[in-house]
Amino acid sequence: MPTVIEAKDLYKTYTEKRGLIHRKVKRVEALKGVSFKVEKGTVFGLLGPNGAGKTTTVKILSTLLIPDKGRAWIMGYDVLEEPEKVREIIGVSLSVERGFFWKLTGYENLKYFGMLRGLSGRELDKRIRELMDLLGLLELGADTKFYEDFSLGMKARLSLARALIHDPPILILDEPTLGLDPASSRHIRNLIVQLAHEEGKTVLITSHNMWEVEVICDYVAIINKGRIIAMGTVPELKRMVSREIPIEITSYAGKLVSEDDLEKIVKDALGIERVAVKMDKQGEVRIRILVENGMEDNVVNKALEILRARGLRILEARVMEPSLEDVFIKLTSGARS
């Protein structure tokens, strides 16, 4: 897969001057050497807490901010040297709650921004209807409602629609589901995945929602205090936290088999030593297995097979996977000590 977005060693320090006479200069180091690559047709998540530097990175990639150091390319075009080229091929959403004219309807807003990209006539009309339909905006009445009367969910959908108006191959979306109602965020998440996996678009999203990133991103970079502290696929990142993952299976054994026998059977069948079985008086057993990270799916399936073959009824099976949150906490606390 070719790399279509690349950031290389980006640095940015904001200087803010306050007061006309006594100039006080405030400096914030927002980025301290950010590098990453995004492959075509994937959803790339830039995950980090507030103030980590996500928006700063997004602005640099969308030609809206000049880094102090470092470079970035979108489909080979340098964001500093060829901003016009970059602007043609990216669709951007910077904030879900702002960015449109209040006294125009959703339809009129989209049409204006479409016209600024040289689209017009029936083609543009058709495109707007399609997009509004795709984003569920038509059923919400956003075509005739003024933007000022939109709910946050509608605003976010409209923002994504604008990013898509010229059918760009690259989407750069800054916190596209921030603060949205569940229906709107689900709609947007599904669409993002669909755009990448079915239409081959490349999507860079930022988020501070670990769960969301875990669900939709193919590749994740965790950013904190202006630095990327970890990068990889979600399973790869999880492997960084712990090498062993607990699996818990609850099943009903009744009088079919004793606690000790069951433990031996499972150990032998799986070839794993770290198995603990506990049975209560009613015949319900709790089996805990510690497996090497990455093996959990195989082991669960195999364990369930064995139990079923013995006639045990499975009540629950849980893989106690670490969440991205665990990853984040481990990485940031490690940095502090």
């Binding site: 809206l64 951007v92 910077l94 960015g99 004219f101 309807t105 600024l116 040289g118 003024f146 604008r162």
Partner: protein, 272 residues
């Protein structure tokens, strides 16, 4: 893309958006029509209360006072609209969070601003001067209509330097985070253009100011038109010439002004 295509594209987009905006803000559209009359009525009332209209006419140096006041009010209202709209545009775009999207659009901020502002300026000026046309026709017949058209032409010519000045003020406001550049612009113009009183009444410093403000010259044209029966085209050509020179001058400053806005935003970031 060629410059001409960009210009056409932006003009079409702004025309569409402004027409939608007028449609959605009928009260504003109505006020654009009614404003010249409110202003004229106020001045006529004031004029008759303080003295007679003929005294006013001779003091300010105009012919038919009613014709002049209505026409000049049309000029003034359209100029104020142009200046206010244009000067606030950059700040409005910033507050709405639209500015970054304009910057990230293929034509970019400079083009969208420079080409785009012409459209609302022309539409609102046309509305304001159409509004005063009936009075002009009523007082001077078809010649009155010719005069309104001539004034509209000059107003259109004046919009270009006015937009330039407004964009300079808007740029300064954005860069220095100081709105007063923008908010004092139209009151200042109103003061120095000498619409309702002779320029000689003004302090010297403001008189100097009045020479660099395009509105003054359109007002001057309205004065001339109210005195003469047939429009004296040689004098009007002079005025047109001055306005053209101002167009070039102010926009030569405005364009780099916008460039520094863009630079400033790309250096310091802008809220999204």
């Amino acid at each position: 893309m060629s410059e001409l295509r960009y210009a056409r594209m932006i003009v079409k987009a702004e025309f569409y958006a402004y027409m939608c905006w007028l449609k959605n803000n009928k009260l504003f559209a109505f006020m654009t029509l009614a404003w010249p009359y409110l202003m004229a009525a106020f001045i006529l009332g004031l004029g008759t209360a303080l003295g007679s209209l003929s005294v006013f006419a001779s003091k300010v140096g105009v012919g038919d006072p009613i014709f002049y006041i209505v026409l000049a009010s049309g000029v003034l209202v359209s100029s104020i609209n142009v200046v206010d709209y244009s000067a606030w545009t950059l700040l409005d775009l910033k507050w709405l969070g639209v500015l970054p999207y304009i910057m990230a659009s293929p034509p970019g901020l400079r083009r969208v601003t420079m080409y785009g502002l012409i459209i609302p300026a022309m539409i609102s000026s046309a509305i304001s001067l159409t509004a005063v046309a009936p009075v002009a026709v009523f007082t001077e017949g078809s010649l009155g209509l010719v005069k309104v058209v001539v004034v509209l032409g000059l107003v259109y010519l004046a919009t270009i330097p006015l937009i330039g000045i407004a964009v300079i003020a808007g740029s300064l406001s954005l860069i220095f985070k100081e709105e007063s550049f923008v908010s004092f612009l139209s009151p200042l113009m109103l003061l120095v253009s000498g619409v309702y009183y002779p320029l000689a009444f003004l302090p010297k410093i403001l008189q100097v100011f009045s020479y660099i403000v395009p509105v003054t010259y359109v007002v001057e044209a309205a004065k001339i038109l109210s005195i003469y029966g047939m429009p004296p085209f040689n004098k009007l050509f002079w005025i047109a010439g001055i306005l053209v020179a101002m167009s070039i001058l102010y926009n030569l400053i405005a364009y780099p002004g916008l460039r520094s806005v863009e630079k400033n935003v790309r250096k310091h970031g802008i809220s999204t």
